[in-house]
Symmetry: C2
Subunit: 235 residues, 2 copies
């Protein structure tokens, strides 16, 4: 894989990117269900059949967009964490920074969010390639807790958890090479899921006529989640 690999491959990657960009634009405009290969091709001035040289099927295009979206939201989380002063900020601050960063991305890209955290597209099974980008937000959250644990700023939950849950959590920790108590890891998984529960309800309109001060509500809930995994506010 040399840097310059001929004009052909450069054109190919350029066109691939253009297709994805146009598809993203349609996604933002109409949602995943209305994404049409023909419309993308039309907008790009090419025949619809030519598009199949780049993506074997509509689902493959969607898969590519899914991977991009996972990476984008993961990057949003990491940037939010790094920007809040990774060295100086307290673990709780870094946790909430990640949460608000993720929320900001989701609010800015609701259809892409729906693509990855909404209902799975019909008959679509997530390929192996999506699992790694999908983990980035979770890994960012775990990282904060791991650092807090290393710094002795973690209060392990007193309450015991069911054995199978702790076993799963420890297996997960081993797979990731993370040294954390099983109870903390289990709570982390729960907090991770609950974070996206809050986001999905907000984005999918379930909070309409229920909560209006959504930013304040979310930040308070994120803080609560930080507590639930054992992060403590240094005072």
């Amino acid at each position: 894989m040399t840097a310059i690999r001929g004009a052909r491959e450069r054109a190919r990657s350029e066109i691939t990117e253009a297709i994805k960009a146009e598809a993203r634009a349609q996604l933002a405009a109409e949602g995943a269900a209305k994404l049409s290969l023909r419309a993308v091709a039309r907008e790009l001035g090419m025949a619809s059949s030519a598009l199949y040289r780049y993506f074997p099927s509509r689902d493959d295009l969607l898969t590519a967009l899914i991977v991009d979206a996972y990476n984008a939201i993961g990057e949003a989380a990491e940037r939010a964490r790094d920007r809040c002063g990774a060295a100086t900020a307290s673990p709780v601050d870094r946790w909430t920074a990640i949460c608000t960063g993720v929320r900001a991305w989701a609010l800015a890209h609701p259809h892409e969010y729906a693509l990855i955290y909404g209902s799975p597209v019909p008959g679509y099974r997530a390929p192996r390639t999506t699992t790694e980008p999908a983990a980035r937000v979770g890994l960012a959250l775990i990282g904060v807790v791991r650092d807090a644990h290393a710094a002795g700023a973690l209060k392990e939950p007193a309450e015991p958890l069911p054995d199978p849950v702790v076993a799963d959590a420890l297996a997960l920790g081993a797979e990731l090479g993370i040294e954390l108590p099983g109870t903390v890891l289990a709570r982390l998984v729960g907090a991770w899921a609950q974070l996206f529960g809050l986001l999905s309800f907000e984005l999918f309109g379930q909070f309409r006529n229920v909560i209006e001060a959504r930013t304040e509500f979310f930040e308070q809930a994120a803080l609560q989640l930080a507590r639930s995994v054992g992060l403590t506010t240094p005072r």
Copy 2:
């Protein structure tokens, strides 16, 4: 509206129900995006155009299914609550009973669950008729907490919440005619959203290779949510 209103209207409601039943079957088989009016009509042995006498559009059919699904999951919640011994069971037990009842329904009807708690499919509009059925699960949860509060078995969270959040929560309580502290109501809304976050992650495959003991994990998380709204375990 007499009881017997002619064969015509009886036939109409029967056919309407048959259409919904067949649509639900297709939903369970293939998912919402693949639901086809023509296929429903074909299966029912009628012309596709005849179907439009009963539902003006595909989205209207989906809306009807959404309302049904909300009612079904709400009823599942209420039945789970009532079956666990509403009079004798502790508030925490009733809370977790509702949660597990909701989960059981969701696992049994994943596509209908995705229809109501996944990405909004039909171009983003929730008619007024859906809001009331949509609230049933939340109301069941609120009811448990209200009863616990009346019985003096509620420990109000000590931590203060942002004013706008409390104001929204109190407005919500007033609208529902529920006497509960603002902090508790706000936490309830959060717990409600987080409950469905857990469910969505499980149903949409986000826990694959992460948590295997999903039942135990869920019940522990539900218990945790009960605590977060102030329910206490009597000993």
